[in-house]
Symmetry: C2
Subunit: 142 residues, 2 copies
């Protein structure tokens, strides 16, 4: 976190209170928040904060590789502040997202005819499941 702030300054970016609040909120956060989640949280301390600031900051953090967009929910983008490559599992009932820290890269070999057409640069797995809470809810209904 401190390192991040340092990196921030080194690269000539200004460290504003709003950005600091966003950085703090994201630091170690595993809730995979949306821009709106972040906005609402920051608004508590900085009532005049705007979406533009949230999106700007997220965009910058993405460029720096500190935050990744999660492509798993079509409605809204989710953001993941863990820069370590990993995968995700999403509850198909409540959309809760979990992290999957497992390296499958050895197994994910592409067929040759694909590698002729695309130079691979990465991969990401979306697992789908039903979380505990929703399993219980479903049982209750039956």
């Amino acid at each position: 976190m401190k390192e991040l702030i340092e990196k921030y300054k080194e690269r000539g970016f200004k460290l504003t209170p709003q950005r600091l609040a966003i950085l703090k909120f994201l630091d170690g956060n595993t809730s995979h928040p949306t821009a709106d989640d972040i906005y609402r949280q920051i608004k508590k301390d900085y009532p005049t904060v705007s979406f533009a600031t949230v999106y700007n900051t997220l965009q910058m953090l993405q460029k720096k590789g500190e935050v990744a967009e999660i492509t798993i929910d079509h409605q809204k983008k989710h953001y993941d502040p863990n820069p370590k490559p990993h995968h995700h599992i999403i509850c198909i009932s409540c959309n809760k997202i979990g992290d999957v820290f497992e390296d499958y890269s050895e197994a994910l070999r592409l067929p040759y005819h694909i590698e002729e057409e695309f130079k691979p640069v990465g991969s990401h797995i979306n697992f789908y499941g039903i979380c505990r809470g929703c399993q219980k809810k479903h049982k209750r209904r039956n």
Copy 2:
């Protein structure tokens, strides 16, 4: 395709010319079209067709498992009329999407602590790459 039309009727859905046109357009289509792509195509023959019809039909086909939404591009949803489970590779430069018919399911074992929290129901891999066309473009620039 014929089977699909039969299935359609059997289940009490009406087969309208617009829907038939959409079905024909999707049949065997590997271009992973967006709703807008489909709309523009159908509009050629049915100039009064509306987005509502396109989205309605896609929704119905999804429920029947004949079409799947591809969660790989945040801007727009893409649709895949191939009901056989498979994965995708997307060009990070031009967004072109390719199909990856390879069964990785054996390798995609989830860590135990995840399986305690989620009952898995499926998975989908997004591969990222640079397509031939874009590789050439990039070289040209250098």
